[in-house]
Symmetry: C2
Subunit: 454 residues, 2 copies
C-alpha cells in the first residue's frame, strides 16, 4: 500500500471529528474551537483506552519527537533510545512505546504521527497569519504601550506566584525547581485566544489587539526568561551576552516589521508580480508567511510570531484590482487555514491524557500551580488600563498551550523538573487552555462587539 | 530552534523556485509545469554538485523512504541499514547517505525531506482532484470505450517492445529481467499530462477525457501486471487468486463511483451540511477526496485514482446558493492546489540526477528503452479512433513519472533489476516525463481549443 495512504485516512478522520466537535460546541453555545479540542481529547482518550497503537503514540507525541531526533542524530537503535529517554516514564509506558515504535508496521505509525504534526504546525502558522491579515500595524502600535504593560505584568506576576507556590509546597526542593516552575507559568499561547476572538467576531476589538500585542511581546520575554533560567540551571550563572543577543535580535526583527514592514512588503510584491502575476495573490502572501515565520524561529522566537508579523504587513491595498484571481485576501487564505488550523486543535486535544488526573498528589500540586497561573495572568489584565475590559484581557492571556509544553519539556530534559512536577505542569497547561474558550465567551458576552472602535 | 523551522524555509524556497520556473517557461512559450520540473532539476543538481546535504538526500529520496522504513520496522541502527540496503549503490553514495542521515543535525534533514514528501503527495492528490472536479461522469462514460482501448494498447505495446528490446540487448539475461523492463514501460503517470491540459485550457477536450480515462484504467492494468510479474519473479508462478482479487476490487470501486457515486456524494453532503454548514463547501469535498484516495490506495491503486474519482462525483449543482462561503468549487480548491501541486513537480525535478547521463553503457540501454517506451505509447493513440487527435493522446500517455519509479524500485528490491538497468529505467522515466509538456503543447497547437465539443 502507498506509504501516504495512512495519512489520507487520518486526515479524513480528523476533518470529520473537528466538524463534529464544532457542531456539538455550537449546539451547547460554546466557541467552535472548544469543540475541536474536546473532540480531539475524546477520540484520543477512547483510542488510548482501546490500546490503538496510533493513539498511544500520539498521547506521547513529545516523546516521539525526542525519540525520532535521537534515532537519527545518534544513530543508535530505536529500543535503546526509548530505554534511555523514557526511563522516567516507567516500564509500562516505555514498553508500550517500544512495542509501537519498533517492529513491522512501525514506520506507518511514525509517518502518520509525523504527517499530522506537520499539518498541525502549518495550521497554527496559517491561523496567526490570518489573524495578522485582519489586524493592521497602526492599530497595533496604538495599543503598544498597554500591550507591553500587560506582557510585563503577565510575565512577572505568574513567575513570582509560581515560585512562591512551589516554595510553599516543597520547601526543601532546590532553587532551580522553583525557578523553572515559575518560568513555565509565564508562557502565553495565543492560538486559542486568537481563534476564540475570530470565532466570536471580536478580532477588531481593543481587547483582541492588546492580547495579540502582549502575546508577541510575551514570546520575546519568554525567550529571555528561558535564556536566564536555562543558564542558571545548567551553568549556574546568567549569560548576559546571550540574553543581550536574544533581546537585540527580537527587537530588531519586530522593530523592522513595524517601521518598514509595509514598504518591504510592497517592494517584494512588485518583484513577485513580474515573476508570477497569475498566482500573485495566493503565493506572494504565503511566501512572506513562510519566510517571516522561518526567520522568527531562526532567531529563537516561535514561528507563529513571524506568521503574525507577515499578516500585519500585508493588506488588501497592496494588490491591484487588475491582479488575476482578485478575491479578498482572507477568502484566498481561508481554504488553507480552514483545513489545517482545526488539525492543530484536534491534535492538541489528542495529547490530553485523562489518566494524568488520577494521581491525588499530582492533582494537589497542579491545583496550587493552576491558581498561581490564573491569578498571575488575570492580574496582567489590570495593566490594560481603561477603555478595554480588563477581565477579557486577563482571560485572553491564560492559555499556556504548546509554549508552556515546550518550557516544561526543556525543564524535564535538563533535569530541573521531575516526572511528578512535569505531570502537574501538563495539567496546568491543559486546564488553562481548555477553560479559556468558554471563559472568554462569557467575558465577551458582557459587552457588545466593537467592530470599529479603537 | 523550532523543529518545524527548516520546513518553513524549504517551503519558501520551493514556492519561489516554482514561480521562477513558471516565469522562464512562459517566457520561452512552454507550459508552466515544465518550468517547475526543470527549475527543480537545476536547483537539485546545483545543490548536489555543491554537496549541500539536503540536496544529496533528496537526490536519493527513494532510498531515504526505504531507510526510514527499515529503521523503524527492524529497529536496527541507521548506519547498519544503509550498509545493508545501499550496498549496490557503491561506497561513495552509501557513505554519503550515512554521513547525512546519521549524526548531529540528521533529524532536521530527515524532517525536511519527509515534510516535503508529505506536501508533494498532498499536491498531486489535490491536482487530480481538481482535474476530476472539472470533468464529469457522463463525459467520461461517453469516451469509456475509446479510453479502454487506448489503455489496453498502451499497456500491451510498451510491454512487448520493452521485452523485445531487453532481449535484443541482453539475450543471456534471465527472463524475469525482460519481463520487468517491459512491465515498467506500461506505467502512465497522469499528473504531468493533466497539468499541461489544465495549463493550456484543454481539460474539456475529447483528447483530455480519453487520456484521463485511459490513465485510470491503465493504473488498474498496471496493478494486475505488477501482481503477475512480481508473482513470476518471486514465486515462479502466477497467483490467479490474487489477480482476480485485485481486478475485482478495482472494478467494484470504479464501477460504484461511476454508477452511484453522485447519489452517494449527495447523501454524504446532506449529513455534512447538518454538521458544519459554514465550512461545507470546503471541508465536504476535501473529506471525500481524503476518503476516496485512501480507499483507492487501500485496494492497491494509486491515491490519485481515488482523488480523481472524488472530483468526478462532485459538482457545483450539489451545493445550494444558500450555502455559506458559496464561491465556485474550483476557486475554493485553488489555494490548496496552487500551493501544493507545484511542490510535487519541483520535488520530482530535484530527483533527476544529471550524473546518470554520464555512463555511455547505461545511456545506450536507456536509448533503446526510450524508443520502446515512446513508440509503445504513441501506438496506443491510434486506438483512440476518429474525432480526436491520435498524436495528442499518444503523447499524453507518455510520462511514466512516479508510477514508473515505483515499478522500477520494486524491481530493484526483489532483485529483478540490477543497478545499471535501474539507472537506465530512471533515464527513461525522466525523458518521457520531461519531453511531454513541450510535445503536448506542440500537438495541441495544431488544433484550436475545444471548450464544448465532445
Amino acid at each position: 500500500m502507498d506509504p501516504f495512504a495512512g495519512l489520507l485516512l487520518l486526515l479524513f478522520i480528523v476533518v470529520v471529528a473537528a466538524a463534529l466537535g464544532r457542531w456539538i460546541a455550537v449546539k451547547l453555545d460554546q466557541p467552535p474551537v472548544l469543540g475541536e479540542l474536546v473532540m480531539g481529547a475524546l477520540v484520543g482518550n477512547v483510542g488510548y483506552a482501546l490500546r490503538i497503537p496510533f493513539f498511544e503514540m500520539v498521547m506521547n507525541m513529545a516523546a516521539l519527537q525526542n525519540i525520532n531526533a535521537m534515532v537519527w542524530n545518534t544513530g543508535a537503535p530505536v529500543r535503546e533510545i526509548i530505554d534511555r529517554i523514557m526511563a522516567g516514564d516507567g516500564p509500562v509506558i516505555s514498553g508500550m512505546m517500544e512495542k509501537i515504535l519498533s517492529g513491522p508496521g512501525a514506520v506507518d505509525l511514525v509517518n502518520m504521527g509525523f504527517g499530522l504534526w506537520v499539518f498541525s504546525n502549518l495550521g497554527v502558522v496559517l491561523l496567526l497569519f490570518k489573524v495578522g491579515l485582519e489586524t493592521n500595524i497602526v492599530d497595533m502600535l496604538r495599543v503598544g504601550g498597554r500591550a507591553s504593560a500587560v506582557a510585563i505584568v503577565g510575565t512577572i506576576a505568574p513567575f513570582i506566584l509560581g515560585y512562591l507556590g512551589s516554595l510553599a509546597l516543597a520547601p526543601n526542593a532546590p532553587q532551580t525547581v522553583h525557578i523553572f516552575l515559575g518560568a513555565t507559568l509565564c508562557a502565553t499561547s495565543v492560538g486559542i485566544t486568537a481563534r476564540v476572538f475570530s470565532d466570536l467576531k471580536h478580532l477588531q476589538s481593543r481587547e483582541a489587539r492588546i492580547v495579540l500585542g502582549a502575546a508577541v511581546i510575551d514570546d520575546v520575554l519568554g525567550l529571555i526568561v528561558l535564556a536566564v533560567v536555562a543558564g542558571i540551571v545548567t551553568t549556574g550563572h546568567i549569560s548576559l551576552g546571550k540574553i543581550a543577543g536574544v533581546s537585540l535580535l527580537s527587537v530588531l526583527f519586530l522593530g523592522t516589521v513595524l517601521l518598514v514592514g509595509e514598504r518591504l512588503a510592497h517592494f517584494g510584491m512588485k518583484i513577485f508580480r513580474r515573476l508570477d502575476p497569475f498566482h500573485l495573490k495566493l503565493l506572494y502572501p504565503l511566501s512572506l508567511m513562510f519566510l517571516f515565520s522561518w526567520f522568527s524561529a531562526f532567531i529563537g522566537l516561535a514561528p507563529i510570531v513571524g506568521a503574525f508579523a507577515a499578516g500585519l504587513v500585508l493588506n488588501e491595498a497592496l494588490f491591484a484590482a487588475r491582479d488575476a484571481r482578485h478575491a479578498p485576501l482572507e477568502d484566498i487564505i481561508y481554504p488553507l487555514e480552514g483545513l489545517f488550523a482545526p488539525i492543530f486543535f484536534v491534535l492538541m486535544g489528542m495529547q490530553v491524557n485523562f489518566a494524568t488526573f488520577a494521581d491525588p498528589h499530582i492533582l494537589a500540586l497542579a491545583g496550587v500551580l493552576v491558581v498561581a497561573a490564573v491569578i498571575g495572568k488575570l492580574v496582567s489584565g489590570l495593566a490594560a488600563g481603561g477603555g478595554a475590559s480588563r477581565l477579557t484581557i486577563g482571560i485572553g492571556m491564560l492559555p499556556r498551550g504548546e509554549v508552556g509544553l515546550i518550557f516544561a519539556s526543556i525543564g524535564k530534559s535538563i533535569g530541573a523538573v521531575n516526572d511528578a512536577l512535569y505531570s502537574a505542569l501538563v495539567i496546568v497547561i491543559i486546564l488553562t487552555t481548555v477553560v479559556t474558550p468558554p471563559a472568554l465567551k462569557f467575558a465577551l458576552s458582557r459587552k457588545p462587539p466593537q467592530p470599529e472602535t479603537t
